[in-house]
Subunit: 289 residues, 2 copies
């Protein structure tokens, strides 16, 4: 996994505009936000799916970088004062603290454009129609019915009593959509898979996305700011509904265990080729950061 | 022109998510920002270029809508308190005033995603490779070396003494890049054009983009808020360098006249097919709003 994390860092380093190119401050801020940290869960997923479809690592690097850029832009915007107003991210001052709010706003905007620029590069995959499908998947996962929509529901939920179903509806969009995109775009990088295989991967990705969120809520409740590299306990402080606040810690952990089992089971038909996806599923649960 | 403006409104109306779809408030705000106004200069340009390459109007509608969505997202973000902090746009309260800052931030983010979703629709144009070129063009025009980069340079320029060359460098990115994208994407919607014809259109688009900006600066200095539908005189109030502040009103008008002539001359080889582009060039100058 650390090899893939390193590959992702190297790819982002190469694909982001150099800090010497005008406008320098914007490019510095984009690199500040994107480089030097992060678990790179989405790139890990894309690369792991590559084992199943026999995708080239170099191609997966670009696709994984595009998805990670969307993720990073969402963090930069999410940390802004008008959203979560957070000052710490990946153990460093957030982008608007290190630079300024206007720059952070533009950083997010430009990272989103860059993600689509990367996916539109000629010959990224051999079949252009497939490449268009990938772009469409990422655009839908990012937009008002995906990640951005999930954040809007999250905002509206502050201080509200959600049902577990409503909470799930939000998370399927806020974090789940991009995790699914990471899996499905990886699956489109290699030999074409059968519809049934794609559906199986999509189902796995949905479970993995929810698992990721449940564990995130547990960590937010249990871990320290130093361990997380971001402000701990902020969900409770902001009166945000979480799996922990809704179910309590014990049942949230049971839910995580159930999702983990289901995710492993969903991968069974892929046999040995899914080994890295199995490992990642465990990593999502066992990470302490 | 009003027929194209109406077509654009209808296309946006159809292509934006319905306000009844969850998250409703976000979708309401996206529609509020995008519908019911605007000169639709970029869609007018795309449609006018369609005459030169024989493009289907229905195809141009989608492409023009995608470009207009990028333009609208940039206005929504530009109006935010951390940027221009403006309260009036197209004669209505700006998006963050009508809704709230967090919603306006997400509106911009989601409009950008939607633009790329529209351009990735299967069979938008018959040749998928060409469609990828169009997506790449729009992504570059929007990003850190295009529109978002121009806004970053603009921010850094507040209170600075720019040379006319530096001002032009900024505007080529801030407004010019998207205007060029409007022309070039329109040109990719019909029969393939020769490289020389594409280069000629790109040159025209560059001139038209600068002309648009010079006239904008003149209007900002001369017109009233009621006529503009946005706050007048704000460049001077914010101590922003403009063509008027740098050259004075008389020389700014001379520059506009020179650009207008050059734009018309650049279109000459297209003959009758460029009639609407000629009209648009005049419209850019003679608009009083």
């Amino acid at each position: 996994m650390s090899a893939i994390q390193q590959r992702t860092e190297t790819a982002l380093e190469r694909l982001l505009p150099a800090a010497t190119i005008t406008p320098q401050r914007l490019h510095q801020a984009m690199r500040y936000a994107a480089l030097g940290g992060g678990k790179r869960v989405r790139p890990l997923l894309s690369h792991a799916v590559g084992d199943i479809c026999g995708a080239e690592a170099g191609r997966l690097d670009v696709v994984a970088a595009a998805i990670e850029l969307i993720h990073i832009y969402s963090l930069v915007h999410d940390d802004l004062p008008c959203m979560d107003n957070d000052v710490l991210r990946r153990g460093k001052p957030t982008c608007h603290v290190q630079f300024d709010e206007a720059t952070a706003l533009l950083v997010g905007d430009a990272l989103q454009s860059l993600a689509f620029k990367l996916l539109a590069e000629p010959e990224l995959v051999t079949d252009s129609r497939r490449q268009l499908i990938m772009i469409g998947l990422l655009a839908r996962a990012s937009g008002s019915r995906g990640m951005a929509g999930g954040q809007a529901i999250d905002l509206a939920a502050v201080g509200c009593a959600l049902t577990p179903e409503e909470l799930e509806f939000m998370h399927i969009r806020k974090t789940g959509a991009l995790i699914r995109a990471a899996v499905m775009l990886g699956a489109h990088c290699g030999s074409p898979l059968a519809e049934a295989e794609l559906a199986r991967l999509d189902h796995f990705a949905k479970l993995a996305g929810l698992l990721f969120q449940v564990v995130d809520d547990i960590l937010d409740a249990e871990a320290s700011t130093a361990t997380l590299g971001k402000t701990a306990g902020k969900d409770a402080a902001q009166n945000k509904p979480t799996y922990v606040s809704l179910l309590g810690l014990v049942r949230a952990k049971e839910k995580a265990a159930g999702l983990r089992t289901a995710a492993h089971e969903g991968l069974a038909p892929f046999g040995e080729a899914a080994q890295r996806l199995h490992q990642l599923t465990d990593f999502i649960v066992d990470r302490s950061f």
